[in-house]
Symmetry: D3
Subunit: 287 residues, 6 copies
Amino acid sequence: MFTHQKALQFTAKPDAPDPAFARRFQEVLGGKWGEMTVALQYLYQGWNCRLPGKYKDMLMAIGTEELSHVEMITTMIDQLLDKPGAMAADDTTGATQASEYGAQNPQHTIVNGGGAYPHDSNGVPWSGAFVTASGNLMADFHLNVTAEMQGRLQVARLFHMTDDQGVKDLIRFLVTRDHMHQMQWLSAIEELKADGLDDIPVPEAFPLGEEFEEFDRTFIQASDGAQATDGRWASGPAPDGRGDFRSAVVQAHGQEPELAPGDPRLYGTNPLQETKGLIGKAKDALK
Amino acid sequence: MFTHQKALQFTAKPDAPDPAFARRFQEVLGGKWGEMTVALQYLYQGWNCRLPGKYKDMLMAIGTEELSHVEMITTMIDQLLDKPGAMAADDTTGATQASEYGAQNPQHTIVNGGGAYPHDSNGVPWSGAFVTASGNLMADFHLNVTAEMQGRLQVARLFHMTDDQGVKDLIRFLVTRDHMHQMQWLSAIEELKADGLDDIPVPEAFPLGEEFEEFDRTFIQASDGAQATDGRWASGPAPDGRGDFRSAVVQAHGQEPELAPGDPRLYGTNPLQETKGLIGKAKDALK
Amino acid sequence: MFTHQKALQFTAKPDAPDPAFARRFQEVLGGKWGEMTVALQYLYQGWNCRLPGKYKDMLMAIGTEELSHVEMITTMIDQLLDKPGAMAADDTTGATQASEYGAQNPQHTIVNGGGAYPHDSNGVPWSGAFVTASGNLMADFHLNVTAEMQGRLQVARLFHMTDDQGVKDLIRFLVTRDHMHQMQWLSAIEELKADGLDDIPVPEAFPLGEEFEEFDRTFIQASDGAQATDGRWASGPAPDGRGDFRSAVVQAHGQEPELAPGDPRLYGTNPLQETKGLIGKAKDALK
Amino acid sequence: MFTHQKALQFTAKPDAPDPAFARRFQEVLGGKWGEMTVALQYLYQGWNCRLPGKYKDMLMAIGTEELSHVEMITTMIDQLLDKPGAMAADDTTGATQASEYGAQNPQHTIVNGGGAYPHDSNGVPWSGAFVTASGNLMADFHLNVTAEMQGRLQVARLFHMTDDQGVKDLIRFLVTRDHMHQMQWLSAIEELKADGLDDIPVPEAFPLGEEFEEFDRTFIQASDGAQATDGRWASGPAPDGRGDFRSAVVQAHGQEPELAPGDPRLYGTNPLQETKGLIGKAKDALK
Amino acid sequence: MFTHQKALQFTAKPDAPDPAFARRFQEVLGGKWGEMTVALQYLYQGWNCRLPGKYKDMLMAIGTEELSHVEMITTMIDQLLDKPGAMAADDTTGATQASEYGAQNPQHTIVNGGGAYPHDSNGVPWSGAFVTASGNLMADFHLNVTAEMQGRLQVARLFHMTDDQGVKDLIRFLVTRDHMHQMQWLSAIEELKADGLDDIPVPEAFPLGEEFEEFDRTFIQASDGAQATDGRWASGPAPDGRGDFRSAVVQAHGQEPELAPGDPRLYGTNPLQETKGLIGKAKDALK
Amino acid sequence: MFTHQKALQFTAKPDAPDPAFARRFQEVLGGKWGEMTVALQYLYQGWNCRLPGKYKDMLMAIGTEELSHVEMITTMIDQLLDKPGAMAADDTTGATQASEYGAQNPQHTIVNGGGAYPHDSNGVPWSGAFVTASGNLMADFHLNVTAEMQGRLQVARLFHMTDDQGVKDLIRFLVTRDHMHQMQWLSAIEELKADGLDDIPVPEAFPLGEEFEEFDRTFIQASDGAQATDGRWASGPAPDGRGDFRSAVVQAHGQEPELAPGDPRLYGTNPLQETKGLIGKAKDALK
């Protein structure tokens, strides 16, 4: 169960409105790697977690914190839209210069009346498909690591797209928390291993005897880039400790596919004989 | 530039048609974590890679291999649909029992005439938003690790949903390659670090002096789960080697947000005085 | 800022797993009118609210409560999936009968490993486009009324689709809260009017003098249904108190549209003379 | 069955092309609350209406009228694109200034060759999910009220974003019809009540005895906003006439959720003992 | 401007309800190639047509007819849902057998209360992206041909999925109109050519002198399928009358791409020297 | 199976960066009619083709070639983004003028760090729904014709939106191949007919005796445009050689639809008697 208090987790106050930056800041609110995604992803992983205890509790803690980040960014965007800028190409009453007319998101004014919404920096709606909660914590914690990396990357880029100190302060807070959260997930991955809950390859519990040994440590070269095998992914010990990497040029081991004719009731293109028979029957029926 | 040969990378031949499994197998073809995603994700990462050499070459190699996986799964689904099963609830001519009528994907017959398509197991279309190529290899390789884990997890689950040995063989091949590819990305992450190209926190080049030290190693407890701080993410040395984790109960450090009234031309709900003035003026205009 | 406690707002415990009902219950979690929508819609309306005080505070209260509903339904679906039912058409080890194989959502097992997700009952992802926060509380509170009506309608229907007393109890709780929330929004609409903040037509502040009087109370009959004017929307006093409704058969008051030829650089189909000239010039260029 | 005449319902002629405004005007054509939505929503509600007579006939009348609005806005956008403006950043032949280059929708030229399409002001396609026809007229008429409010709000905002008198005239017509249609749906709601077809709470026919009385009139305070209970939604008589509103601080009445371990064939993270057993068995299988 | 009459263009009455077929019939209502698409596509092509006269008038005629098809299919689906079938797995009161429980679309009951909606046979919403109106009639009429072919194919397949004579009669009507409409668009293509408005290649007005002659009639073999050049697309006269087809094995004519390092403010992975410099500077800043 | 070589099929090198054009060029990469669509559409048609031989082999050849086009356009966009232009409205360090700030796609910098992605010119993700592989080659080849026409139209338009000779050269290559591919598909249609595999109406094998003769050659006039019947689609011989076109004013041949009351458990709006009974019973239950 959730409760809310009005004060924000961290200060979110711009020095001045900036509708063009408001549009850009939507990316880390409602984009694929924005705060909506991590908040809901961690919460769904926590709710669905079938292992009681520290992992489940930790997921609920961080998911709830991320909700507070959604709130801060929304509040910031609202203030960046405090005056919506030029409403028209020749508007002289707007708080910002007419050049912003082209740079702003038209839905911020027409649809939201000067407010944020769960869409990305191009106005594409956030999608529930951005959330992954697979039931396997090892797989999901690796996703969470990259989510915090992609997120930190995006706010680091945004840091250079504004000179507003108020905005920069909030970005600095977000950069800091993304730093912490990268370390949190990396540590949680170590903990999962130490607890014997999973390991490489994930899922560890799938019987390795079902694998084809010929392909389990082989880097397959399907492009002519000469340096593709120069990394440690193509020779030396593989991370599962079961042997050394190999490499091989890609090769066809399978059949040339040939499909059976389709059910005539589907009217696909079939070999001539069948088709002719079908059309003949159709024409006979007309006589 | 690409070239193609008709023989498949690995055998893809089911023992018998199974339209219900064909529906399920779509998940690893056109779902968020399916082969369409990894093929295109690795190719876009490779094409966009601004660092010439082994990483770029390796990305092109594996992206091209994954295209061959798309082909194998498509070919397999086509054969699972060789006879589309019952066409109607009371169909007695279908190759499989009427119970399949409810379990199959209706678009497999109505739209595709017995063929695969880039949609997931519920028929939702594959989306370009599934692809991430951030320009930062460290962030993206962590995504690639989880992609191979989510992928291996899904085919491992599908392994138990069929008794068809032909299908199981292809799944075993996919499980094996996902095993290899997990190791490949983990090794590439190590290589990036060894080459000094990036490190934790990602991106390493963003000046740490901009971060707020109070928050950079603090696990924030925003839920009442008592065990949330029992993992190595809340105490002991943090992975960036700059100090120990801390923990703290979540606290509000920011303002209670209060927004300025909106531009009257947006007709939002503003404080009474302004609203009244606006309505009064509108009514005056009517006299 | 949000905080979370592990205990749920209301009991969410089914008597037994039921994967087919789990699929259906997704509708009120991740469908257009599900709990994800109302939670986030009320929160965005609250965050964006430019009028400090009771309306903003109320929005934050109910938005936060709805988050707890998201949590309860997610938890319920997880338990309905405690045993995922038949994994395959001929599975004899599943907890439920094989007929469920066709009725369940394949992503519940393949993707989520037995967990809920922010998608609807057909597996289509929740969309940020479902949230509306227009900045005008009168318009939005009317949306909130219908959201609670659509929501209550859906859970009332689901009530008859299960005999599980645990599930029915949670549904009864949701039905009750939707009842309360319908009344809450209807009361808030009255309060907005009493406070003089807006009225019919919304937005009241737009100058009525700009309207065309001929069309402002006229029901226009564009279909031949004889009873279309038998309701109080076509005669008698109109709700804005400015006169009586009228009705009229639909009539064309505008021009027959004729568009100018397009820019030749766009290669659209233009009147012959222009097209010929363009093709002539192209052919000349080849000589 | 539909018929069409070429003359428009109302004049739709701009004084001059304006590609940037054409982009914005798309919102009320193909946005969530645009004319595509109301036209198709009313038609689907009418077609699906299981009560013959005035409501069904009225829905068909207004749905058909809204189709004519789709046509007028499309025609207007086409003319706003009569000259597509600057085709390139340095184009000196375009009818409008180069600054429009950034403000226009690139698909208007590249894809449509100077024509409108069913997308919103950011180019996101219209979605069938925008249409709701629940089968319950009371719930749907409340949606229709807000649709006309959101629509009138958006065109009222657009009114201030152009100085073109031709465009303003069409907007004035739309504002007027949205005024009328708000009143139409509010009157239809009254009629439904007077006819005894439904009432608050919707659906009235669901047995109230199934509700939990403790929660049916209680405003639950889940945020610390002190004024949240200052409205008539938290005290005084509730609109269903069955008693007074109450208020209470949010409280947990449910269990702390604990989920059963998952099916081992799904390879989720389960309690250690089970996981170990599974991995052990897998490893044994390899010996 | 549109008008509507209640009588349908053709009879739409099933012999009996059939919720499972109702789900399937949604494909030709709200699928990519369904009646929603053709109705709106032809109307948008007509509205946007910049050439007054027969083509524009014809587009409006057929677009309007297709709206009446949308209406008929909606009406048919409504009746197929007259009794929603089993509401639950163990329902004994439903009009149809329990096996339909799995085959029906859950939203038909939960969301629509027994009504049709603009979604496909898997419940995925119709998208405005399905409509193309390019401004070039030659390109669009070829799309319209395939739309009628895809449509006729789908209803022909559905014809075999039901034994209900009422449903079959409506399908027969649709099959017939799709036959007519295929011929209509093929004739319109001939007319466009005869009128000199466009020709192969489309758009004819683009100066051919800008093309690379080496590639303008060459079939490029990028796969090893030996029979790929056995058709008239690889030898003999090409349809534009400018020469014979040729064929060639695919060959690389371009550079090996090498990209410049990215802007350091974007924190992408750049060559080591630059990266090191950047990290060094960041570390210096911390001293 | 696929293989890749690093050299491109054709040179893809701009003279200078141009982020605004990079945004526009995305349309022919990730838009509905872009290279992603044709590459994957031809491959899926080839994979699913149930007729072995020349058609299947040809599809694989052209699908593979189109993959190489995806690669070239991606590479071109990357270079157009070599310097991302102004990062902020007042940035003086960017390579291009500040006016580009509004014209560029913010995700190119924030999300991709200066790289292309599978989205259209407005940033809307590519969709798997863009691919059609119906199983019927005649229907699909007509789609392929229009795909090449829409594609050539779009690149022809883009040709006029840039003065960069490097970009223009790639566009000229694409225009040329689209010319060739239009001819390829038109020839393949002729070949299908010559081979007796299908004909007008598609699918030819559906028994014409099931059609209603009254409607099979009749142009139906549902709009008042006087010239709608002036084309060869309304009189003279029809392309199927079975008679002459006719025309007729649209007429209603069907019933006025009246639907049965819905299942009371769905709480739709039903005739009064049934509704009253239901509410009465609900109220009785409360006594």
